[in-house]
């Protein structure tokens, strides 16, 4: 019994400690003035994290937009309200689906790769050799990846929304015969730039911060063995998915809900 209580206490202390380490890690990586060298490193990461994630995000966005239009149409047509299809597709994409689904895909596609890469660097002692020769691995390895993540995910989310709305247009207007003018007209009269698009982007920025932070920290903080790397990669995907979904509820309640 006593041992159980002590173990619980130790777990609690470990958790708080890890949280503190993660916070200090984030602070130390992000502080520092930008340099040409850092920009080059950032560019390389932008290519890997952002550009190469584009395909999966765009294809998912297209199908989600198409399915939204299809599902929405079958329900709305019962009420003779299929004119509201554009509004439904645009609002659900901009406010909810694009930020959340893009963040989940991003965690799976880029987050896990970040963890594994940094983890392997740690396991093969590349990080400690960098420290040896006087290069700060936080600045050299971690910071460019963090910044690349912060910039890429909002951009990917925009791409997701745009292609989703286009997919909805394809299904709704071209295939199911909703009037083109009411698809766009209803969308324009109900979507507000600041309230819907701006808040969606804000959500996506928060998710970018959380997902990249978790991914990079899990890689930096893992037990440097092959088992440790595999566990950390799993943890990255699990933690970031849970964090995204949980935060999404909180953010939605603050932005759109009547709870706040």
């Amino acid at each position: 019994m006593m041992t159980r209580i002590t173990r619980l206490g130790r777990h609690g202390c470990d958790l708080v400690e890890a949280l503190g380490r993660a916070g200090m890690f984030l602070g130390q990586s992000l502080v520092g003035r930008p340099s040409a060298e850092g920009f080059k490193l950032w560019l390389r990461q932008m290519h890997f994290i952002g550009v190469l994630s584009l395909a999966i995000v765009l294809v998912s966005g297209l199908f989600i937009g198409m399915v939204l239009a299809l599902q929405g149409f079958t329900i709305l047509v019962d009420f003779g309200a299929e004119d509201a299809l554009g509004q439904m597709v645009a609002l659900s994409l901009l406010r909810e689906l694009a930020p959340v689904v893009a963040a989940l895909l991003f965690a799976g596609r880029a987050g896990s790769a970040l963890t594994a890469e940094i983890g392997l660097m740690k396991a093969t002692e590349q990080l400690s050799s960098m420290e040896m020769i006087g290069v700060d691995p936080l600045k050299r390895v971690v910071a460019p990846r963090l910044w690349a993540g912060f910039v890429s995910l909002p951009l990917l989310t925009v791409g997701f929304s745009v292609i989703g709305i286009w997919g909805g247009h394809l299904v709704g207007v071209e295939w199911l015969g909703v009037y083109n003018g009411s698809y766009w007209g209803n969308m324009q009269s109900s979507v507000d730039f600041v309230d819907d698009i701006g808040n969606g982007m804000l959500k996506s920025l928060v998710f970018a911060l959380v997902v990249t932070w978790i991914a990079v920290f899990q890689g930096y903080d893992l037990v440097p063995t092959s088992e440790g790397i595999s566990r950390a990669t799993t943890r990255t995907v699990v933690y970031s998915s849970l964090a995204v979904l949980g935060l999404d509820f909180v953010l939605t309640a603050l932005m759109f809900g009547e709870l706040g």
């Binding site: 560019l43 390389r44 932008m46 290519h47 952002g50 550009v51 584009l54 009420f79 003779g80 309200a81 004119d83 509201a84 645009a90 901009l94 910039v151 890429s152 909002p154 951009l155 990917l156 925009v158 791409g159 929304s161 745009v162 709305i165 003018g181 009411s182 766009w184 007209g185 209803n186 969308m187 324009q188 009269s189 979507v191 507000d192 730039f193 819907d196 698009i197 982007m201």
Partner: protein, 154 residues
């Protein structure tokens, strides 16, 4: 060197696409207007009751969309609604002075829009003129009230 140039180009393209995406969302999805667009001219119309008409609603003629509602405000002189319509400029000088504007509903629960129908007056409406012959929105409660009143009379 060539590879890194390609990469830079790719990243630049990616960020450009993101910015273009935001612009598309702003203009085409949320309808921020930055001038431009099609040439339009405006007409005014006063309605006793506009029901659920919103700005940017369609203005149609024989079912064909010919413009949008630009602005709705309360006219404090008559205490009715003053609606500004932006119509396709190809219709300028084509609508007679006795054109009727009525607020219609598409479907039972659909959006409300304005339907125009021309009369036979030889004089035409010019930019900024007011349509005098208007028909208000159908308000379901008033309709039911009338129906009940008629029932009571019988």
């Amino acid at each position: 060197m060539k590879r890194s140039k390609m990469m830079e180009f790719g990243v630049g393209l990616f960020m450009l696409a993101g910015i273009l995406g935001v612009i598309f969302l702003g203009i085409s999805v949320s309808g921020l207007s930055v001038g431009g667009g099609k040439n339009t001219y405006t007409l005014q119309a006063n309605f006793a009751n506009i029901g659920g008409l919103k700005s940017r609603a369609r203005v149609t003629m024989a079912g064909v969309t010919v413009g949008r509602v630009e602005n709705i405000e309360l006219d404090t002189e008559w205490y009715d609604a003053r609606v500004t319509l932006a119509l396709d400029s190809s219709l300028e000088g084509q609508l007679s002075k006795d054109t009727t504007a009525s607020i219609l509903t598409s479907g039972l629960l659909g959006e409300q829009y304005i339907g125009l129908s021309v009369g036979g007056d030889p004089e035409m409406l010019a930019d900024g003129d007011t349509i005098t012959d208007t028909q208000s929105a159908l308000v379901l409660e008033q309709l039911i009230q009338q129906f009940v009143a008629n029932m009571a009379k019988d």
